[in-house]
Symmetry: C2
Subunit: 146 residues, 2 copies
DNA sequence: ACTTAGAGTTTACATCTGTAAACGATAACT
DNA sequence: AGTTATCGTTTACAGATGTAAACTCTAAGT
């Protein structure tokens, strides 16, 4: 079973291309180049490079269509977002992640439905939450707190 | 007024060094090298390079202490975390950020206090939240949804 | 059939990152 | 005073990333 795996990282510039394809669900290079170059001051050649790298990385699939290709996402947008966020969080002190969320949520526009869903999840989580989370910035055996 | 500004990015490897200094609040290179090399299979020389780059970037300050330096953070940990998270989120579709939070929160250990604080913030936020957030993956004038 | 424009591929190159050895200065020990 | 163990600095180098020109096909128009 060909699981939707991707080992390689999608870089910042590549994200811009992926977002177009994710949103359109499929697109030819002309469309991608057209839309991306309205958002970024990149030459068509640059965007072609990014598309090529994404195909090589296994993030985009190609389907031949006459002289050109139709590109489709091979990894789901939500998965990519979850992974990117998790990697970022893993890098931060476990003790401080809660405050990071507070700040992030304060500064992010969220819909009523999303907020309600978050509250529900948090209320459930609260029932089994530990009183405190220890700082994990120091090696095993050392006690720290930031 | 010397604001705690940092234009340059702290890389993944550099984060590991910063976390030690943030947690200890101040440390000499011997301590940093000792602790970091217990967490990562890096040579002392590697960690020295990272320290040097962080000093050059303005993320660490140095105070001479005899033959060596004491390193202290020039940027607050919370600020670094907030910035890193915000940059990550800015890259993702505005419409999908809520779901990304749901996933992230589901998979992150949080203390009771943090959860309660998050719930409080979300309840406040709910009172002024829009019903929906539009996808912002396409250029101005195009309507998309992912 | 011949030319051509546009799609994808190759090549290019500077900078950033991860990883580390080599080196130079100097405090500390003998 | 001479030697040594460090500490910080310089140099190194491969691979990733951002950015883009050059090139090669081949479908499409004449």
């Amino acid at each position: 079973m060909p699981t939707t795996e991707i080992t390689e990282t999608i870089t910042d510039a590549e994200w811009c291309v992926m977002r177009i394809v994710w949103t359109l669900d499929q697109a030819d290079s002309h469309t991608i180049i057209d839309l991306v170059s309205q958002q970024h001051d990149w030459k068509a050649a640059t965007i072609k490079t990014l598309i090529g790298r994404l195909v090589k990385k296994g993030a985009l699939a190609t389907t031949k269509n006459g002289r050109q290709f139709i590109y489709t996402p091979l990894i789901p947008e939500q998965t990519a977002m979850d992974t990117a966020l998790a990697n970022q969080l893993d890098q931060m002190c476990a003790m401080c992640r809660g405050q990071a969320f507070v700040h992030a949520i304060d500064h992010t526009e969220l819909s009523q439905a999303d907020i309600q869903e978050l509250i529900t999840h948090l209320q459930t989580k609260l029932t089994t939450a530990p009183a405190t989370i220890a700082c994990d910035c120091l090696p095993e055996g050392y006690e720290g707190s930031c």
